[in-house]
Protein backbone atom coordinates (compact mmCIF):
# COMPACT_ATOMS: atom_id res chain seq x y z
CA UNK A 1 0.00 0.00 0.00
CA UNK A 2 2.65 2.37 1.11
CA UNK A 3 4.80 1.37 -1.85
CA UNK A 4 1.91 2.01 -4.20
CA UNK A 5 1.35 5.49 -2.74
CA UNK A 6 5.04 6.20 -3.03
CA UNK A 7 5.08 5.06 -6.64
CA UNK A 8 2.04 7.13 -7.48
CA UNK A 9 3.65 10.14 -5.88
CA UNK A 10 6.87 9.56 -7.75
CA UNK A 11 5.00 9.10 -11.01
CA UNK A 12 2.99 12.26 -10.40
CA UNK A 13 6.07 14.22 -9.53
CA UNK A 14 7.82 12.96 -12.63
CA UNK A 15 4.97 13.79 -14.95
CA UNK A 16 4.63 17.24 -13.41
CA UNK A 17 8.32 17.94 -13.90
CA UNK A 18 8.11 16.71 -17.48
CA UNK A 19 5.11 18.95 -18.13
CA UNK A 20 6.85 21.89 -16.52
CA UNK A 21 10.00 21.30 -18.49
CA UNK A 22 8.02 20.95 -21.72
CA UNK A 23 6.43 24.27 -20.84
CA UNK A 24 9.85 25.79 -20.20
CA UNK A 25 11.00 24.57 -23.57
CA UNK A 26 7.91 26.10 -25.15
CA UNK A 27 8.47 29.37 -23.30
CA UNK A 28 12.05 29.46 -24.44
CA UNK A 29 11.07 28.88 -28.08
CA UNK A 30 8.55 31.73 -27.87
CA UNK A 31 11.06 34.03 -26.17
CA UNK A 32 13.72 33.19 -28.73
CA UNK A 33 11.37 33.87 -31.63
CA UNK A 34 10.36 37.19 -30.10
CA UNK A 35 14.01 38.17 -29.48
CA UNK A 36 15.02 37.16 -33.00
CA UNK A 37 12.33 39.20 -34.70
CA UNK A 38 13.14 42.21 -32.55
CA UNK A 39 16.80 41.89 -33.50
CA UNK A 40 15.72 41.69 -37.12
CA UNK A 41 13.64 44.87 -36.76
CA UNK A 42 16.67 46.59 -35.18
CA UNK A 43 18.69 45.74 -38.27
CA UNK A 44 15.98 47.15 -40.53
CA UNK A 45 16.02 50.33 -38.51
CA UNK A 46 19.85 50.47 -38.46
CA UNK A 47 19.99 50.45 -42.26
CA UNK A 48 16.90 52.61 -42.68
CA UNK A 49 18.41 55.31 -40.47
CA UNK A 50 21.28 55.76 -42.93
CA UNK A 51 19.01 55.86 -45.98
CA UNK A 52 16.38 57.99 -44.25
CA UNK A 53 19.02 60.32 -42.80
CA UNK A 54 20.26 60.99 -46.32
CA UNK A 55 16.74 61.31 -47.68
CA UNK A 56 15.80 63.99 -45.17
CA UNK A 57 19.13 65.80 -45.49
CA UNK A 58 20.40 65.05 -41.99
CA UNK A 59 23.34 63.10 -43.50
CA UNK A 60 25.31 63.96 -46.66
CA UNK A 61 24.46 61.71 -49.59
CA UNK A 62 27.06 59.04 -50.33
CA UNK A 63 26.28 56.63 -53.17
CA UNK A 64 28.55 53.86 -51.92
CA UNK A 65 27.31 53.61 -48.33
CA UNK A 66 23.71 54.17 -49.42
CA UNK A 67 24.03 51.27 -51.87
CA UNK A 68 25.46 49.00 -49.19
CA UNK A 69 22.74 49.85 -46.69
CA UNK A 70 20.11 49.18 -49.36
CA UNK A 71 21.76 45.83 -50.19
CA UNK A 72 21.72 44.86 -46.52
CA UNK A 73 18.11 45.91 -46.19
CA UNK A 74 17.08 43.90 -49.25
CA UNK A 75 18.99 40.87 -47.93
CA UNK A 76 17.22 41.21 -44.57
CA UNK A 77 13.79 41.23 -46.20
CA UNK A 78 14.70 38.02 -48.07
CA UNK A 79 15.57 36.07 -44.92
CA UNK A 80 13.19 33.31 -43.95
CA UNK A 81 10.95 34.50 -41.10
CA UNK A 82 8.73 31.47 -40.54
CA UNK A 83 10.40 30.60 -37.23
CA UNK A 84 9.97 34.19 -35.95
CA UNK A 85 6.21 34.13 -36.09
CA UNK A 86 5.29 31.01 -34.20
CA UNK A 87 1.82 30.48 -32.85
CA UNK A 88 1.47 31.64 -29.25
CA UNK A 89 4.09 34.40 -29.45
CA UNK A 90 1.51 37.23 -29.61
CA UNK A 91 0.98 40.01 -27.06
CA UNK A 92 -1.97 38.22 -25.45
CA UNK A 93 0.16 35.14 -24.76
CA UNK A 94 3.62 36.39 -23.81
CA UNK A 95 5.14 39.50 -22.25
CA UNK A 96 7.12 42.31 -23.86
CA UNK A 97 5.86 41.94 -27.39
CA UNK A 98 3.50 44.12 -29.42
CA UNK A 99 2.71 41.48 -32.04
CA UNK A 100 -1.09 41.33 -32.27
CA UNK A 101 -2.92 37.97 -32.41
CA UNK A 102 -4.47 39.18 -35.70
CA UNK A 103 -1.20 38.16 -37.41
CA UNK A 104 -2.16 34.52 -36.97
CA UNK A 105 -5.79 35.13 -37.87
CA UNK A 106 -4.82 36.76 -41.18
CA UNK A 107 -1.58 35.00 -42.03
CA UNK A 108 -2.15 35.32 -45.79
CA UNK A 109 -2.48 39.11 -45.50
CA UNK A 110 0.51 39.29 -43.17
CA UNK A 111 2.59 37.43 -45.75
CA UNK A 112 1.32 39.66 -48.54
CA UNK A 113 2.55 42.68 -46.58
CA UNK A 114 5.92 40.93 -46.26
CA UNK A 115 5.99 40.48 -50.05
CA UNK A 116 5.23 44.19 -50.45
CA UNK A 117 8.15 45.01 -48.16
CA UNK A 118 10.47 42.81 -50.24
CA UNK A 119 9.38 44.67 -53.41
CA UNK A 120 9.90 48.09 -51.79
CA UNK A 121 13.35 47.07 -50.52
CA UNK A 122 14.31 45.77 -54.00
CA UNK A 123 13.26 49.10 -55.50
CA UNK A 124 15.42 50.90 -52.93
CA UNK A 125 18.31 48.59 -53.80
CA UNK A 126 18.04 49.73 -57.40
CA UNK A 127 17.75 53.39 -56.44
CA UNK A 128 19.99 54.11 -53.46
CA UNK A 129 23.35 54.27 -55.24
CA UNK A 130 21.93 56.03 -58.32
CA UNK A 131 21.26 59.49 -56.94
CA UNK A 132 19.83 61.26 -53.93
CA UNK A 133 16.62 61.96 -55.88
CA UNK A 134 16.20 58.26 -56.69
CA UNK A 135 16.80 57.35 -53.04
CA UNK A 136 14.23 59.94 -51.92
CA UNK A 137 11.74 58.52 -54.39
CA UNK A 138 12.16 54.99 -53.04
CA UNK A 139 11.92 55.86 -49.37
CA UNK A 140 8.22 56.72 -49.39
CA UNK A 141 7.04 53.27 -50.58
CA UNK A 142 9.47 51.64 -48.16
CA UNK A 143 8.03 53.61 -45.26
CA UNK A 144 4.57 52.75 -46.54
CA UNK A 145 5.42 49.04 -46.43
CA UNK A 146 6.67 49.29 -42.83
CA UNK A 147 3.61 51.29 -41.81
CA UNK A 148 1.12 49.00 -43.56
CA UNK A 149 2.10 46.15 -41.28
CA UNK A 150 2.54 48.19 -38.10
CA UNK A 151 -0.87 49.77 -38.65
CA UNK A 152 -2.75 46.50 -38.38
CA UNK A 153 -0.47 44.06 -36.62
CA UNK A 154 1.40 46.02 -33.96
CA UNK A 155 -0.22 46.93 -30.65
CA UNK A 156 0.34 50.35 -29.05
CA UNK A 157 3.25 50.84 -26.67
CA UNK A 158 2.49 50.18 -23.02
Amino acid sequence: MRIKTGLTAAFLALSLTTAASAENHMDKALEDAKDAREAHMELYSFNMSLLGGMAKGALPYDADSAGKAADSLAALTMMDQTRYWIEGSDEMSIDDTRAKPEIWENMADFQKKETDLIAAAKAMQGAASQSLEALQGAIGPLGGACGACHKVYRAPKT
Binding site: G52, E91, C146, H150, K151, P156, T158
Partner: protein, 295 residues
Protein backbone atom coordinates in the same frame (compact mmCIF):
# COMPACT_ATOMS: atom_id res chain seq x y z
CA UNK B 1 -46.04 61.65 5.52
CA UNK B 2 -48.30 62.10 2.57
CA UNK B 3 -47.22 65.69 2.31
CA UNK B 4 -43.54 64.67 2.29
CA UNK B 5 -44.21 62.14 -0.47
CA UNK B 6 -46.08 64.76 -2.44
CA UNK B 7 -43.16 67.15 -2.07
CA UNK B 8 -40.68 64.47 -3.17
CA UNK B 9 -42.91 63.83 -6.14
CA UNK B 10 -43.01 67.51 -7.02
CA UNK B 11 -39.25 67.72 -6.65
CA UNK B 12 -38.75 64.72 -8.95
CA UNK B 13 -41.00 66.24 -11.59
CA UNK B 14 -39.17 69.54 -11.24
CA UNK B 15 -35.78 67.78 -11.56
CA UNK B 16 -36.98 65.87 -14.62
CA UNK B 17 -38.17 69.08 -16.26
CA UNK B 18 -34.86 70.80 -15.51
CA UNK B 19 -32.86 67.82 -16.83
CA UNK B 20 -35.02 67.63 -19.94
CA UNK B 21 -34.51 71.33 -20.51
CA UNK B 22 -30.73 71.22 -20.00
CA UNK B 23 -30.28 68.08 -22.11
CA UNK B 24 -32.09 69.55 -25.13
CA UNK B 25 -30.05 69.97 -28.31
CA UNK B 26 -28.98 73.58 -28.77
CA UNK B 27 -29.67 74.68 -32.28
CA UNK B 28 -27.17 76.37 -34.52
CA UNK B 29 -28.14 79.70 -36.04
CA UNK B 30 -29.08 78.97 -39.65
CA UNK B 31 -28.40 82.58 -40.67
CA UNK B 32 -24.66 81.90 -40.30
CA UNK B 33 -24.90 79.81 -43.46
CA UNK B 34 -26.85 82.33 -45.54
CA UNK B 35 -25.15 83.40 -48.72
CA UNK B 36 -22.08 81.17 -48.32
CA UNK B 37 -20.82 79.33 -51.39
CA UNK B 38 -18.38 76.44 -51.31
CA UNK B 39 -14.86 76.03 -52.65
CA UNK B 40 -14.13 72.47 -53.78
CA UNK B 41 -10.33 72.56 -53.39
CA UNK B 42 -10.65 73.95 -49.87
CA UNK B 43 -13.24 71.28 -49.16
CA UNK B 44 -10.87 68.51 -50.17
CA UNK B 45 -8.12 69.99 -47.99
CA UNK B 46 -10.51 70.13 -45.03
CA UNK B 47 -11.55 66.53 -45.69
CA UNK B 48 -7.93 65.34 -45.55
CA UNK B 49 -6.91 67.51 -42.60
CA UNK B 50 -10.09 66.54 -40.73
CA UNK B 51 -9.25 62.86 -41.08
CA UNK B 52 -12.81 61.97 -42.20
CA UNK B 53 -11.66 58.91 -44.15
CA UNK B 54 -9.66 57.56 -41.21
CA UNK B 55 -12.92 56.53 -39.56
CA UNK B 56 -15.56 56.61 -42.30
CA UNK B 57 -13.70 54.67 -45.03
CA UNK B 58 -13.90 50.88 -44.74
CA UNK B 59 -11.14 49.26 -42.67
CA UNK B 60 -8.02 48.66 -44.72
CA UNK B 61 -9.34 50.49 -47.81
CA UNK B 62 -6.69 52.05 -50.05
CA UNK B 63 -6.75 54.10 -53.26
CA UNK B 64 -10.20 54.87 -54.64
CA UNK B 65 -11.85 52.53 -52.13
CA UNK B 66 -10.67 54.88 -49.38
CA UNK B 67 -12.96 57.57 -50.85
CA UNK B 68 -16.10 55.53 -50.22
CA UNK B 69 -17.42 56.86 -46.92
CA UNK B 70 -19.38 53.68 -46.17
CA UNK B 71 -18.51 53.65 -42.46
CA UNK B 72 -18.45 50.51 -40.37
CA UNK B 73 -15.15 50.92 -38.65
CA UNK B 74 -15.29 50.05 -34.93
CA UNK B 75 -14.00 52.37 -32.22
CA UNK B 76 -13.62 50.62 -28.88
CA UNK B 77 -13.98 52.71 -25.73
CA UNK B 78 -14.69 52.25 -22.02
CA UNK B 79 -18.35 53.14 -22.76
CA UNK B 80 -18.87 50.59 -25.50
CA UNK B 81 -18.05 50.16 -29.16
CA UNK B 82 -18.97 52.87 -31.63
CA UNK B 83 -19.34 52.21 -35.34
CA UNK B 84 -18.61 54.98 -37.83
CA UNK B 85 -21.75 55.65 -39.90
CA UNK B 86 -22.13 55.92 -43.67
CA UNK B 87 -21.47 59.56 -44.62
CA UNK B 88 -21.41 59.00 -48.39
CA UNK B 89 -23.82 61.20 -50.39
CA UNK B 90 -26.40 58.39 -50.70
CA UNK B 91 -29.82 57.93 -49.13
CA UNK B 92 -28.26 55.70 -46.49
CA UNK B 93 -25.60 58.30 -45.87
CA UNK B 94 -25.94 62.07 -45.75
CA UNK B 95 -27.30 62.49 -49.27
CA UNK B 96 -30.33 64.46 -48.13
CA UNK B 97 -28.36 66.90 -46.01
CA UNK B 98 -27.58 70.50 -46.80
CA UNK B 99 -24.58 72.41 -45.46
CA UNK B 100 -26.60 73.57 -42.46
CA UNK B 101 -27.36 69.95 -41.51
CA UNK B 102 -23.67 69.13 -41.75
CA UNK B 103 -22.88 72.20 -39.66
CA UNK B 104 -25.40 71.08 -37.06
CA UNK B 105 -23.67 67.69 -36.93
CA UNK B 106 -20.08 68.89 -36.88
CA UNK B 107 -20.39 72.08 -34.85
CA UNK B 108 -23.10 70.97 -32.41
CA UNK B 109 -23.00 67.16 -32.47
CA UNK B 110 -26.69 66.95 -33.34
CA UNK B 111 -28.45 65.10 -36.17
CA UNK B 112 -30.90 66.87 -38.51
CA UNK B 113 -33.78 65.25 -36.57
CA UNK B 114 -32.44 66.63 -33.30
CA UNK B 115 -30.74 63.62 -31.70
CA UNK B 116 -27.39 63.97 -29.94
CA UNK B 117 -24.40 62.24 -31.48
CA UNK B 118 -21.88 60.46 -29.28
CA UNK B 119 -18.60 62.35 -28.92
CA UNK B 120 -16.76 59.43 -30.58
CA UNK B 121 -17.58 61.74 -33.51
CA UNK B 122 -15.09 64.50 -32.61
CA UNK B 123 -17.45 67.48 -32.72
CA UNK B 124 -15.80 68.79 -29.55
CA UNK B 125 -12.88 69.58 -31.89
CA UNK B 126 -14.87 70.44 -35.02
CA UNK B 127 -16.87 73.06 -33.09
CA UNK B 128 -13.83 75.30 -33.58
CA UNK B 129 -14.39 75.36 -37.36
CA UNK B 130 -16.25 78.11 -39.21
CA UNK B 131 -19.51 77.81 -41.20
CA UNK B 132 -17.47 78.53 -44.35
CA UNK B 133 -15.38 75.41 -43.66
CA UNK B 134 -18.53 73.33 -43.42
CA UNK B 135 -19.91 74.67 -46.69
CA UNK B 136 -16.61 73.89 -48.46
CA UNK B 137 -16.44 70.41 -46.96
CA UNK B 138 -20.04 69.65 -47.89
CA UNK B 139 -19.34 70.53 -51.50
CA UNK B 140 -16.43 68.05 -51.53
CA UNK B 141 -18.30 65.27 -49.67
CA UNK B 142 -21.03 65.47 -52.32
CA UNK B 143 -18.49 64.52 -55.01
CA UNK B 144 -17.54 61.23 -53.32
CA UNK B 145 -18.85 57.81 -54.43
CA UNK B 146 -22.20 56.56 -53.13
CA UNK B 147 -22.48 53.66 -50.71
CA UNK B 148 -25.70 51.89 -49.77
CA UNK B 149 -24.22 50.46 -46.58
CA UNK B 150 -26.61 50.66 -43.61
CA UNK B 151 -24.99 52.36 -40.64
CA UNK B 152 -24.47 49.90 -37.83
CA UNK B 153 -25.97 50.84 -34.44
CA UNK B 154 -23.46 51.53 -31.68
CA UNK B 155 -22.97 48.90 -29.02
CA UNK B 156 -23.24 51.02 -25.88
CA UNK B 157 -24.55 49.89 -22.48
CA UNK B 158 -26.80 51.61 -19.93
CA UNK B 159 -26.77 54.47 -18.95
CA UNK B 160 -24.73 55.71 -21.91
CA UNK B 161 -27.31 54.38 -24.36
CA UNK B 162 -29.69 57.19 -23.32
CA UNK B 163 -28.77 59.74 -25.94
CA UNK B 164 -30.65 62.54 -24.24
CA UNK B 165 -28.08 62.37 -21.44
CA UNK B 166 -25.47 63.56 -23.91
CA UNK B 167 -27.13 66.97 -23.78
CA UNK B 168 -25.91 67.31 -20.21
CA UNK B 169 -22.48 66.03 -21.21
CA UNK B 170 -22.32 68.65 -23.94
CA UNK B 171 -23.22 71.39 -21.45
CA UNK B 172 -20.05 70.41 -19.60
CA UNK B 173 -17.64 69.54 -22.38
CA UNK B 174 -18.74 70.94 -25.73
CA UNK B 175 -16.99 74.28 -25.60
CA UNK B 176 -15.93 76.56 -28.40
CA UNK B 177 -12.58 78.25 -27.81
CA UNK B 178 -8.92 77.46 -28.32
CA UNK B 179 -6.93 75.58 -25.71
CA UNK B 180 -3.69 77.31 -26.65
CA UNK B 181 -4.66 80.95 -26.92
CA UNK B 182 -1.27 82.29 -28.05
CA UNK B 183 -0.54 79.60 -30.66
CA UNK B 184 0.05 80.45 -34.33
CA UNK B 185 -3.32 80.25 -36.08
CA UNK B 186 -2.60 77.79 -38.91
CA UNK B 187 -1.11 75.11 -36.66
CA UNK B 188 -3.76 75.66 -34.02
CA UNK B 189 -6.62 75.10 -36.41
CA UNK B 190 -4.94 71.96 -37.78
CA UNK B 191 -4.14 70.48 -34.36
CA UNK B 192 -7.06 71.57 -32.17
CA UNK B 193 -9.91 71.63 -34.69
CA UNK B 194 -9.36 69.61 -37.88
CA UNK B 195 -6.73 67.06 -36.85
CA UNK B 196 -8.61 66.50 -33.57
CA UNK B 197 -5.28 65.37 -32.06
CA UNK B 198 -6.54 66.05 -28.54
CA UNK B 199 -9.31 63.47 -28.84
CA UNK B 200 -6.77 60.66 -28.43
CA UNK B 201 -3.67 62.34 -27.02
CA UNK B 202 -5.47 64.09 -24.10
CA UNK B 203 -6.69 62.09 -21.10
CA UNK B 204 -10.41 61.95 -20.31
CA UNK B 205 -12.20 61.94 -16.97
CA UNK B 206 -14.55 59.20 -15.78
CA UNK B 207 -17.42 60.37 -17.97
CA UNK B 208 -15.30 60.95 -21.04
CA UNK B 209 -14.70 64.70 -20.82
CA UNK B 210 -11.31 65.88 -22.05
CA UNK B 211 -9.00 67.09 -19.27
CA UNK B 212 -7.80 70.21 -21.04
CA UNK B 213 -5.29 71.00 -18.27
CA UNK B 214 -3.47 67.87 -19.51
CA UNK B 215 -3.88 68.84 -23.18
CA UNK B 216 -1.88 66.45 -25.43
CA UNK B 217 -0.11 64.94 -22.38
CA UNK B 218 -0.98 61.37 -23.39
CA UNK B 219 -3.75 58.99 -22.34
CA UNK B 220 -4.54 55.31 -21.99
CA UNK B 221 -5.52 53.78 -25.34
CA UNK B 222 -9.35 53.69 -25.37
CA UNK B 223 -9.19 50.05 -26.48
CA UNK B 224 -7.90 49.31 -22.98
CA UNK B 225 -4.45 48.18 -24.10
CA UNK B 226 -1.39 50.39 -24.30
CA UNK B 227 -0.78 54.09 -23.98
CA UNK B 228 -1.22 56.95 -26.45
CA UNK B 229 1.91 59.07 -26.13
CA UNK B 230 2.40 62.44 -24.51
CA UNK B 231 3.15 64.80 -27.42
CA UNK B 232 4.03 67.89 -25.41
CA UNK B 233 7.73 68.79 -25.15
CA UNK B 234 7.56 67.17 -21.67
CA UNK B 235 7.98 63.79 -23.35
CA UNK B 236 8.25 64.37 -27.10
CA UNK B 237 11.70 65.91 -27.50
CA UNK B 238 12.03 65.66 -31.28
CA UNK B 239 13.30 68.63 -33.27
CA UNK B 240 10.81 70.48 -35.48
CA UNK B 241 12.54 68.93 -38.54
CA UNK B 242 12.06 65.42 -37.06
CA UNK B 243 8.35 66.07 -36.54
CA UNK B 244 7.95 67.32 -40.10
CA UNK B 245 9.74 64.25 -41.48
CA UNK B 246 7.56 61.98 -39.34
CA UNK B 247 4.43 63.64 -40.74
CA UNK B 248 5.56 63.18 -44.34
CA UNK B 249 7.10 59.70 -44.07
CA UNK B 250 5.82 58.01 -40.91
CA UNK B 251 9.40 57.50 -39.73
CA UNK B 252 10.43 58.43 -36.19
CA UNK B 253 13.96 59.85 -35.67
CA UNK B 254 15.25 56.32 -34.93
CA UNK B 255 13.46 54.99 -38.01
CA UNK B 256 10.73 53.06 -36.39
CA UNK B 257 7.50 53.62 -38.29
CA UNK B 258 4.10 54.85 -37.14
CA UNK B 259 1.62 52.10 -36.36
CA UNK B 260 -1.97 51.63 -35.26
CA UNK B 261 -4.35 54.55 -35.76
CA UNK B 262 -1.40 56.91 -36.12
CA UNK B 263 -0.53 55.17 -39.40
CA UNK B 264 -3.95 56.33 -40.67
CA UNK B 265 -3.21 59.84 -39.44
CA UNK B 266 0.13 59.80 -41.29
CA UNK B 267 -1.74 58.91 -44.50
CA UNK B 268 -3.60 62.22 -44.10
CA UNK B 269 -0.61 64.27 -42.99
CA UNK B 270 1.37 63.11 -46.03
CA UNK B 271 -1.25 64.67 -48.27
CA UNK B 272 -1.26 68.09 -46.59
CA UNK B 273 1.01 70.89 -47.76
CA UNK B 274 4.58 71.29 -46.42
CA UNK B 275 3.40 74.55 -44.83
CA UNK B 276 0.65 72.63 -42.98
CA UNK B 277 3.09 70.05 -41.64
CA UNK B 278 5.47 72.79 -40.52
CA UNK B 279 2.60 74.61 -38.81
CA UNK B 280 1.60 71.47 -36.88
CA UNK B 281 5.20 70.83 -35.81
CA UNK B 282 5.55 74.44 -34.67
CA UNK B 283 2.35 74.23 -32.63
CA UNK B 284 3.57 71.07 -30.90
CA UNK B 285 7.03 72.39 -30.08
CA UNK B 286 5.46 75.60 -28.74
CA UNK B 287 3.27 73.72 -26.24
CA UNK B 288 4.18 74.03 -22.56
CA UNK B 289 6.00 70.86 -21.47
CA UNK B 290 3.69 68.65 -19.43
CA UNK B 291 5.31 65.91 -17.40
CA UNK B 292 4.44 62.35 -18.32
CA UNK B 293 1.41 61.07 -16.42
CA UNK B 294 2.53 60.06 -12.91
CA UNK B 295 0.44 56.82 -13.02
Amino acid sequence: MRKILLNIGKLAVFAAVVLWFFSAPRPLDQAQFDGLTGDLARGQHLFIAGGCASCHAPEGATGDAALVMAGGRALASPFGTFYAPNISPSNNGIGGWDAYDLGHAMLRGTSPDGRHYYPAFPYTSYIKLEPQDIVDLKLYLDTLPLSDAISRPHDVGFPFNIRRGLGLWKRLYLKNGWVMQDAPQQGRKLVEALGHCGECHTPRNAIGGLQTDRWLAGAPDPSGKGQIPNITPGALTWETADLIYYFESGFTPDFDSAGGHMADVIENLKRLTPADRTAIAEYLTARPALAPDPQ
